[in-house]
């Protein structure tokens, strides 16, 4: 049990196959049973709007889920990292906010803008998947489809762990910006891409 709310947010790009991962993943797991105090929301909107939403909630923990094409890991790789909450460079905040206010949805925009204004609680974790299919359309590629159950397992572990316990691996995020370090890295927990099929 946690005193405040744990927010699990999905960030995706509608109708763009794997890039819509965050949105679709949330929809798939929304009706499953989650511990009390866990709020699942689609956060697929502009960064400053997400900031406003975070400010409205009494949050103890945030877990963000999405697909980000970093092109540093094979498609289907799951990266889990704890967000570094230090201040991003001001110029980067301005550039990203200028895009975000025009409606551009982007996980990194959200991380940078919300960090700048202190929107995230200290315990914020990102679970992102390396996409394969970035074409227009519905559904995921087989490779990314194969990550859905594993991501659910990871997120459940995140929402159930006690406060102040950072899961089972040393994790930080990069000192500046929202990008996680290139793989392989001691700072991010990687779940390598696996063949399509059920995840045990």
């Amino acid at each position: 049990m946690h005193a405040g709310v744990i927010l699990v947010g999905g960030i995706g790009l509608p109708w763009l196959r794997d890039l819509d991962y965050g949105t679709q993943w949330i929809e798939r797991v929304r009706n499953e049973e989650w511990p009390e105090g866990v709020l699942l929301e689609d956060l697929s909107y502009a960064a400053h709007r997400v900031l406003h939403r975070l400010q409205e909630l009494d949050l103890t923990r945030v877990v963000l889920v999405g697909a980000m094409p970093r092109d540093i890991d094979p498609p289907g790789t799951i990266r889990r990292y704890r967000l570094d909450l230090s201040q991003p460079p001001v110029a980067e905040v301005h550039d990203r906010l200028s895009e975000a206010v025009m409606g551009i949805i982007d996980l990194d925009h959200t991380l940078v803008v919300c960090r700048h204004w202190g929107g995230f609680p200290a315990d914020t974790v990102i679970v992102e998947v390396e996409p394969e299919d970035r074409e227009f359309g519905l559904g995921f590629s087989d490779t990314v489809e194969g990550t859905v159950a594993m991501v659910a397992t990871i997120v459940r572990r995140e929402v159930q762990r006690p406060a102040d316990v950072d899961s089972d691996a040393p994790m930080t995020s990069p000192p500046n910006g929202a990008m996680p370090p290139p793989s392989p890295s001691p700072n991010a927990l990687l779940f390598p891409a696996r063949p399509t099929g059920p995840v045990s």
């Binding site: 790009l13 509608p14 109708w15 763009l16 890039l19 697929s44 909107y45 502009a46 400053h48 709007r49 406003h52 094409p69 001001v90 905040v93 301005h94 550039d95 906010l97 200028s98 895009e99 206010v101 025009m102 409606g103 551009i104 949805i105 982007d106 700048h116 970035r134 074409e135 227009f136």
Partner: protein, 634 residues
């Protein structure tokens, strides 16, 4: 006469018809595109004033790619005359293809509401709304009065997102201490000792204080604009249930559950806008007047002829019946009037005439010319009332991407070139108020009146006392007046919000609480159009459906007009017109030129370029940036 260039005339009863004796009335021979140097050599108009005895001019290509602080991918190419310190040539390049028209083919028409909504990340409901209007016209249904009013209130709220963020975050920083100290440091000490005329309203003592307020990320005006978008989102959500991209806008009204509480909450937030608008008008009057007083040449920045086109918004629930047959009647009852203005004079406010005068050319765009220079007859030679239509009209348009001939003489943009009576038209907030002021169609109300030379706007008391504002029709259309118009547009919109809210309470009190109506999907062939406006102005969705499916769906937005490339007659689009003649007033020279004056010209339009689900049909490339303003292109 309504049209000077199109082959349309009117009989004594005001009925439009094609002029007689024209074999191919809409045909034309494209005019070869000429550069500034070629015009100069030929002594052509627009290139006059150069003293040939002094030798060739000192020209320099200068490009901005991408233009930042605009929505999406816009590039600008200019040629600067370094001796005259003036832009002499310009090309506006929309860099990405959108593809909605192709995505929507063959779908259930109702899909257009959700899918087209994604055309814009700022205006999250306007495309859904205009799509609903087109569909309810095709289906032959009429929303109940409160459904129309709720739709109006949602649109009001959307403007409170669009305008503040543009003024505070996108255009505003161009007038900030951070920018001006780099481009025109000589203005800073003058600003420090210049008192702000409206300081008692907005709280900034000097012009320098206002410029500090525009500083990115830390200025008070900048930060307040971000906070303001929260209020807008709350108001949108009250009417739409969800924002952005609401799912409650449907043919025949809205599916939102509303109550007295809904309207009360909306009212409490609208009050905040009243005060915000009062401050905003004072801020922008002070900063713009300061620049114009320090150097009157700023009036030339972004200057172009006052040729404007608006489709109108905010329907009178007692007049709107969704039909094309009566669109002139209900269009003229809108709280923001539709209209066409040429050289500052109102030509028409009739939606049928606005509609029949529109053509969309692709001579310099990356598309195939489906009408073969106007020689090919369109599928619909007339609208449903028998008014003539060009083969280049949206109901006749075919979207056929073809990225070939990439150079300024041939094709250089994914944007098309919409024209009204073959003239480049601009659309925006300033045009919205200009047409409303000249049309004089506003119904009696306590909040806004058109005076013929402007709009008188009463902002009710909230924390600040009631205040009367007056927006005067400007003497010229330039970057500064576009921004000033947008600031006053917040007050104009808030006043309309108050009118609509009072109507909502009245319908509720009378028990007329229905917000939607039932419908069935017709299986026969239908054509319809939704006329509405985005924050930036003009917005139409033209629908052709048959057997319950979309045959053709064409979206035309304000930035389609504003960002357009040259037309077949070598006439530039509005951005291009506004840049040519813009003086370089920054104090930097040579390689140090920052281009702030050109950027002010462009940003004053509040560009909205495509960033959404654009597809390069040749390679299937989808860009990273998704779900933003794809208003401009296909």
């Amino acid at each position: 006469m309504c049209f000077k260039n199109l082959p349309i005339e009117f009989d004594n009863g005001g009925n439009a018809r094609l002029k007689e004796g024209w074999k191919d009335p809409y045909a034309f021979s494209p005019t070869p595109s000429r550069s500034y140097l070629e015009k100069l050599a030929a002594g052509a108009a627009g290139a006059a004033g150069h003293d040939h005895a002094k030798g060739p001019p000192s020209l320099r290509d200068w490009s901005i790619d991408p233009v930042t602080r605009v929505a999406g991918a816009l590039a600008i190419h200019t040629v600067l005359d370094l001796e005259k310190r003036t832009a002499v040539e310009a090309h506006s390049l929309a860099m990405l293809f959108r593809g909605y028209e192709i995505i929507l083919k063959g779908r259930d028409p109702r899909d257009a509401i959700d899918i087209s909504s994604r055309a814009c990340g700022v205006c999250g409901g306007v495309h859904s709304t205009v799509s609903s209007l087109a569909i309810e016209q095709a289906f032959g249904i009429i929303p109940p009065p409160l459904g129309i009013t709720v739709r109006n209130l949602g649109e009001v709220a959307e403007m409170f997102y669009d305008h503040p963020l543009h003024l505070g975050l996108l255009a505003g920083p161009d007038y900030s201490t951070a920018i001006v100290s780099v481009t025109n440091p000589e203005l800073i000490p003058i600003a420090e000792r210049t008192p702000a005329k409206h300081s008692r309203v907005h709280g900034f003592s000097t012009i320098k204080d206002i410029m500090d307020g525009f500083n990115p990320l830390e200025g008070k005006i900048y930060l307040e604009a971000i906070e303001q978008t929260r209020t807008a989102r709350i108001m949108c959500t009250l009417m739409y249930g969800k924002y952005p991209h609401p799912s409650t806008l449907v043919p025949g009204g809205v599916s939102t559950t509303v109550s007295t509480t809904t309207f009360n909450e909306y009212y409490s937030n609208l009050g905040k806008i009243f005060d915000y608008a009062k401050r905003l008008c004072g801020i922008w009057d002070d900063i713009l007047d300061f620049f114009l007083e320090v150097n009157p040449a700023y009036a030339l920045v972004g200057d172009r002829p006052a040729n404007l086109i608006q489709t109108g918004i905010w329907d009178d629930p007692t007049a709107y019946d969704a039909t094309f047959k009566n669109c002139d009647a209900w269009g003229n009852r809108r709280y923001s009037s539709p209209g066409v203005i040429l050289d500052g004079k109102l030509v028409t406010t009739d939606l049928t005439r606005i509609n029949m005068g529109i053509e969309e050319f692709v001579t310099h765009s990356f598309y195939e010319d489906w009408a073969e220079n106007g020689m090919k007859r369109g599928r619909f030679p007339t609208d449903p009332l028998g008014n003539p239509l060009s083969p280049y009209h949206m109901w006749n348009k075919e979207t056929i991407p073809r990225a070939e001939g990439k150079n300024f003489k041939e094709k250089y943009s994914w944007d098309t070139a919409p024209r009204w009576d073959r003239i480049a038209m601009e659309s925006g907030v300033v045009g919205r108020m200009w047409t409303t002021a000249l049309a004089g169609h506003l119904p009696d109300n306590p909040f806004i009146s058109s005076t013929g030379d402007g709009l008188r706007i009463v902002m009710p008391r909230y924390e600040m006392p009631e205040m009367e504002l007056f927006w005067k029709i400007p003497e010229r259309l330039n970057a500064f007046e576009r921004n000033r118009g947008r600031a006053y547009g917040v007050a104009f919109t808030a006043a309309i919000g108050m009118i609509c809210l009072q109507q909502a309470f009245e319908y509720w009190r009378k028990g007329e609480t229905a917000v939607s109506t039932t419908y069935s999907i017709p299986k026969d062939e239908r054509m319809a159009v939704g006329f509405w406006e985005a924050g930036r102005g003009y917005l139409t969705h033209h629908l052709h459906m048959d057997k319950g499916r979309i045959v053709n769906y064409q979206i035309n937005t304000p930035s389609t007009w504003n960002a357009s490339p040259r037309d077949p007659f070598d006439n530039p689009g509005p951005y291009e017109e506004a840049i040519v003649g813009t003086p370089i007033l920054e104090s930097n020279s040579g390689d140090d030129i920052k281009g702030i004056d050109i950027l002010r010209a462009i940003r004053s339009f509040d560009p909205c370029m495509p960033c959404t689900t654009h597809i390069d049909t040749g390679h299937g490339i989808i860009t990273r940036e998704v779900n933003s303003c794809g208003c401009t292109l296909e």
